[in-house]
Symmetry: C2
Subunit: 280 residues, 2 copies
């Protein structure tokens, strides 16, 4: 089984490591338009060989798109054009717009839209690491629109990475992704911007950051190249969740400003119940 | 050296564990008005004995207040009234209001205001754990208002916990604490409230939470008993930082809504620089 991974960053690189380590594929081909990424991927031995996009597609059994969602949207129709036997999947964090672009494509059924709930705040092939996907949830979208062979192949691929697979339609996926992943990145970015504006003295931030700040702001290191197109493609859901979030912050702020401790307490108790959900 | 810890929760309990393990004190006395806490602290062997407040004060060389900041404010003047030779310190996350209540007290110089930048989202003696304070920053406030013996004793105490001590005036402390700790808890609470409102199906939250949500929302499990009085005592700074945070969220939202990808990218790049600060 030859797997061609397009995009040798954190996600593509980590995938390559595990596909080789777990012997799912006897050959992993890497494709990346960034010469620096190609070089690091080869130096680190992430892939067996680096080829051009055209050669990578031609020689693949499975093609994995592990690039920003705007690039996926742009490249996916062309890749499906070239498909004969190949199965195609992608690792994008928004799904609806991407799927729209290949609606009615003669090879649409060869494609399985996917989103792994895994990652770190770092990016590039130097950030790739083994086990990134292990035990993490992976979401297969609109499965009825993929053919049996494509679904089986892709399921085996992600099972080889030790993921827990779930199934959703793309619309539902984009809504949940906004609420449980995209908003977290936005609050981290806003938190970083807030603190950077106020704390001119970086030493203060560093010294005090162990008070919980470090974990809440961790995602603020995430790459703009990856996230700008996600927010753009999932704009409607993202705006809705940001509005709700701002309302909740306002409610907390007003209760604190008014000295309404009972109300603040009630809001915190309500928020506390998230813990039960996360550890169920 | 006999240390009396008032409040046997996460902070007081963790402190007791390390003071005994590191042999700083030959006797650790625990005081807690909650019978359940007293019982668990004894079962877990966190302290050598549990006494009443009065006996705990009388027999102490050092008294540590590890209770919510509203209780510290209420109790500290009385404790200073009873002080003869005892040194007093507290672990509260806001400092200015607490210090105000003992301004001009004849034993003010026996007291050293302190704030450890350490904790977890859990609470109670069952959450106490060894090494909680190791390598964390601890802030001593308004040191000029404490006497030499009190400063030396308290410095030795916190050094025995392997903390990195820094010094600030209380006003400065409360400002920085709002920006680097208090706001993180507020954004986590708001995030939890947002997601809980939308995601009626808890299974979805649980399944998708590995996408960064778990680390940003971790602090939402924090206790209302501890945090309501912190927000109240540090109200002015907290409101200011919340306003700035809401502005930043609005700026991100407006740029996304307008499809201004260049602006979103610029804001993310700006936010990214927090990483450099945290890993310096």
């Amino acid at each position: 089984m030859t797997v061609t991974i397009i995009g040798l960053g954190l996600i593509g690189g980590s995938m390559a490591i595990d596909l080789k380590a777990r012997r799912f594929s006897d050959r992993v081909i890497g494709v990346d338009r960034n010469p620096k990424h190609r070089e690091i991927a080869q130096e680190r031995g992430l892939v067996d060989e680096v080829l051009t996009l055209h050669a990578g597609i031609a020689q693949a059994d499975i093609i994995v798109l592990a690039i920003p969602v705007d690039s996926i949207k742009q490249l996916l129709p062309t890749i499906l054009d070239y498909c004969t036997h190949q199965v195609v999947t992608d690792m994008g964090s928004s799904k609806l717009e991407i799927i729209e672009t290949v609606k009615g494509h003669p090879n649409r059924a060869n494609y399985v839209p996917f989103h792994p709930m895994a990652g770190t705040e770092f990016s590039g092939p130097e950030a790739a690491l083994p086990g990134l996907f292990a035990k993490k949830v992976g979401i297969i979208c609109d499965m009825a629109d993929s053919n049996q062979k494509a679904l089986e192949t892709v399921t085996n691929l992600y099972m080889a990475l030790n993921m827990r697979l779930i199934f959703m339609n793309a619309k539902e996926h984009d809504l949940h992704a906004a609420y449980v992943s995209h908003i977290s990145h936005l609050t981290s970015f806003a938190l970083a911007l807030t603190v950077l504006e106020k704390e001119k003295n970086e030493k203060n931030i560093f010294n005090l950051a162990s008070g919980g700040f470090d974990s809440t702001v961790r995602l603020a290191a995430s790459s703009a190249e990856m996230w700008v197109p996600i927010f753009s493609q999932n704009k409607q859901n993202v705006i809705k969740v940001m509005d709700t979030f701002i309302e909740k912050m306002q409610a907390l702020k007003n209760s604190i400003a008014e000295g309404d401790d009972k109300k603040v307490e009630q809001l915190i108790h309500e928020a506390n119940s998230i813990q039960k959900t996360l550890t169920q």
